[in-house]
Structure formats: C-alpha cells, structure tokens
Amino acid sequence: MRKIQIPERPDLAEKAAEVGFTFATMHGEPYWDETSAYCFTLDQIETDLEAPATELHAMSREAVDRIVASEALMARMGIPAPHMDLIADSWARNEPEIYGRMDLAYDGTGPAKLLEYNADTPTSLYESAAFQWQWLEDQIAAGHLPQGSDQFNGIHEALVERFRDLFAPDTDIHFTAAADNPEDYATVESMAWAAREAGMGAHFSDLAALGVSADGQFLDADSRVIGTLFKLYPWEDLLADDYARHIAGSGCMFLEPAWKAVVSNKGLLPVLWQMFENHPNLLPAFFADDVAPALVDGGRPDPSVAPAFDRVGGPLRRAHVVKPIFSREGAGVTIVEDGEVTEASEARDYDRHARIVQAYHPLPEFDGFRPVIGAWIAGHDCVGIGIREDRARITQDLSRFKPHVIAA
C-alpha cells in the first residue's frame, strides 16, 4: 500500500458535470481528490481486505442470531421494545441484505481492524462503484497507469447480480431518500441503476411523500402500493417515526431489512468482541456502561465482562475511543488517551444515545492524511473498496475520497 502521485485528469470538472456528480466539491473543498491515489498489491487486497471483510460479515450474521434472541441485548442496542419482534422476525424470515460498508484501519501490513460497520445506509457508493472505476479506465488510457492495472471494484456488477438473484424480472422496486441531499440521492440512484440493469422497475419517491393506505399498505408519491422499498434512511429513525406502527403489517419488504438495525449499530462491536475475542480483525470493545467505572475512576468493570476487560485493560486505559451506538461520519466520537480527551468530533447530534468503548487503533498516515478503507459488501461478500482520508484523526464528513489502483 503506497500513495502515488498521478496527474489529475485535465477534464475532471467537465467529466464530473457530465455525469451529474455535483458534490465532487463540497464546502468549497475538493471532496473527490485524484491528485494522488493509493496503490495496493493484489495480495494486500485479497488476503488483507477482501477475505477478512467477507469473514467479518459472516461473523456479524452470527452476532445477529445471538442479539435477536435477547431482548436485554436489543434494549442495550437502543431498539425500542415495541419493535423488537419486528427485528427478530425479519431475521427469522431470513430477509435478504443488499449492501453495507465496513470501515477498516489498514496500513498495508498486518491485519485490518474493523472500526465500524455501516450496514444500513452507507453512502459514497457512486464514488466507489462508478466514478473511481472511470478514473482508472481514463488513467490507463492516458498512459498514467500501466496496462494491466486493476482496481478492487466489482461493486456495481455484484449489486446487479444481487438484485437478479433476489427478485423476479420486472419486479417494481421503490426507492426513497431525502431528495434534497445530493450525496444520499446519488447513492440511491446508483442502487437504482443496478436494479434497472438487473431488469427491475425503479421508482423514486421523496421520503416525506410516502403514505399509508387505509388498509395499512405503504404508498409511493404516485399512490402506488409499495411492495419492496429501498430506503436510504436509518432504521433507528424509521422506528422512531409515526409510521413505525405500520411497518409490521404493511406487507412491504424493506431494503436493508429490519435486522440490519442491530448490525449498523456500534453495539455490534462489543458483541463481536465477546463472541470472537482476539480475532485478528477486531478491536477490543465494550458497552461503555460496563467499563466506565474501571476506565474513569479506578473502579471495577461489570462482573459480566470483568475477565475480558482485565485481559485488555492496560491498553484500553492507555487509549480508547468512545462512540455513540448510532452515529455517522464520525459524529459524537471522542478519543481518550491516559484519561485525557485528546480529540473529539464537533458534531454532537448523537449524544443522546448509549455508547461503546473501543480500543484506539490509530489510522496510518500518508503525507499528512489518514486513510480509512471502506470495504463494500454486496450480499455476503466483500466486492470492492473506497478510500476516504482526513487530516484529523476522526474521519468526518469533510474527508476526501481517494481513488485506488491494484499495481499491474
């Protein structure tokens, strides 16, 4: 894994405009940044990222099996009691998952570490699946990258395949998001292209325009009954909305399914650590309530986790990260070293939620930037990566997207 200098395409701005990539620049800063790129060996990709991410997804599924069997655990993960059955049933019915993105810390050597799994509403799909792909094709054509250069990016094809496997041809799939957010909308559109290529009908309705009929079925903006709904809107919000009471009886299949509420939830991390302690791709993690006394004022951890805590207590005291169970783009994250807060993200929208504590594993640094690897899962397999880098130690929504290449 190296950072390579490579000329920006001279017609980058036109290309972005042409495909409607309107947020290539955000807040006056380049969000898509191709003035340099990350270069991997095939072995790094296959051995260190692809195989572990696929395995982590399988482990996450095992964790769901344990979580949905325990109302106490679901309560800890912020699932409202009235909706626990919805989540358990969705898992029992084996409702299919489409996609997710694991954020991994990886420096080119040693095992990649799972920071968190955004398995419900991951964005940056368009940049990863399409715009980065085109960058590689253009740079090979321009002679800036050797023939035979490749990219770990089978994302689009894998999503097409996924829709084909799950739905009969011509199935109508409805898509919803907050239409006025270009990042969210681009992710939904990318997904819709995949569905269309797989032979499905794709219909968009703004989230606020969805309705419910007198007999409890969800309706799109044109009043058509929704049989399958891809929503770029998190389960923790869905379950808090007025329409939550209609979900169970609506006959509507949700993508991602309801059981993703306990995957796309940082409460998954302590459960994984409990089930797979010392797995090379996991960082030690605990529910904050269980270990706060031990970390903050020399008290004892909750007896249920004491042995596991004692095995990692030293490093955890030296440096750990506190994260709300529901948060995105680094919001609400705090780094604590030797009892002092050394970094905290500014966005505190998620502070009302329960928290977890995870061992601090610094991101590597390349030319003053710290990359985080987003490993994309389609179905059950890791099918590609997208890289975001930030100057700060906490990757936030002002980070830059960087293309990557597998060396020829």
């Binding site: 399409a130 957010n181 559109e189 309705g211 419910v212 309706l219 058509r224 007025d242 929208d349």
Partner: protein, 193 residues
C-alpha cells in the same frame, strides 16, 4: 482474474435512473376548479375544457364524492384529517348515516382524458381540504397546494378511488395518511454516512 466490473456507466442526472421510456407514467393535463362557475368562466375564455365538459366532469366528481369520499367514525377524526369546519355528516351530504362523517367537497380536479376515461379511470376527481391547509383527493394519496390552476400530472391521479359507501368508516387508527416517515431524522440534512 479482474477485480473490477467490466463496465460501469452511471449518470446522476436528476432522475435519470428513475425515468425511462415505457416506465414513466403517462402525463395528462389537468386543471383544478373550486366550483362549477369557475370552470364555466375558464371555458368561456377558451380554456382546456368546454362548458359541456365542465358539466359532465362536475357531475362525475359529485357522484364519486357520494361513492368514495373518505368516511370516518366521528367528526373529530374527520376534522383531524381535513381541518376544523371542513366535514359534515354522511346524512347531510350523501343521504346516509348521521353518525358517519365525510369531508365537504372543496374543489374538482379535471383531467384532459374526458371521453376516454374507462374502467378504472375517472375523468375528474373530487378534492377535499387536508389538515395542512392544502387539498387532497378522495383516496388521500395526492396532495395539492391549491384547488385552482393547471398542472401536468400522472394519469394515476385519475384512478377511480375505491368505494367507501357501505364500508365501515375509518377510525383514528386506520385513517389513511402521508408524511409519517422522515421526522425522526431531526435537523440532519443527510441520513447516510
């Protein structure tokens, strides 16, 4: 063994992913009128419809009002959906029960499909006040800002609403609605990450 897709050509031009020939619903010209007189006045000015079409459309919308207006089991629930003062009993409006309540007819939506409305379609639709101060159709599935003006809309807006006459009236629990998703996102402008 290539690690990348063979081809990916995605464009993000507005709704490109969602509008495709043969998939997009047929659009029809439509116009809303608060009452028959305003339709007649527009016809005299050479509008979308003739005076005869106005009469026919209004008769049809009024029939649909009697057959398909939303029916509620109390005045309270009806006013929650349509606003205070915008409801009356079925007995007053459609010669039915005094303990079933319906919104008052507040306008007429006429589509330029007069004469070819068949089977499941109606050339015109009754309009009702909604709780937000705008207007809605009989099935409560489309909302309009006003009960006057022209627009292009999907032909689906002219689907015949399901009959409600003789059906059990809606209770508060099953009154049809819209907009019940999205509020919990609070002030966040983005839901993904």
């Amino acid at each position: 063994m290539r690690k990348r897709s063979r081809t990916v050509a995605l464009t993000l031009l507005g709704a490109a992913a969602f509008t495709v020939a043969g998939c997009r619903e047929e659009q029809v010209d439509a116009q809303a009128f608060p009452d028959l007189a305003s339709c007649q006045a527009a016809a005299a000015q050479g509008g979308l419809f003739t005076a005869a079409e106005c009469n026919q459309a209004f008769a049809e919308a009024e029939t649909l009002h009697v057959e398909s207006a939303p029916r509620y089991d109390s005045l309270e629930v009806c006013e929650e959906q349509h606003g205070a003062g915008n409801c009356g009993s079925e007995a007053q409006q459609a010669g039915g029960s005094g303990s079933i309540f319906m919104p008052l007819l507040a306008g007429y939506l006429i589509g330029s499909m007069l004469g070819r409305a068949t089977g499941g379609m109606a050339a015109s639709q009754p309009m009702y006040r909604n709780a937000q101060g705008g207007f809605t159709n009989a099935s409560g599935t489309t909302n309009f800002g006003s009960n006057a003006g022209r627009a292009q809309m999907g032909a689906q807006s002219f689907a015949r609403p399901a009959a409600t006459a003789g059906q059990p009236p809606m209770t508060r629990a099953n009154a049809a609605s819209r907009g019940g998703f999205g509020s919990s996102g609070g002030t966040r402008s983005s839901f993904g990450g």
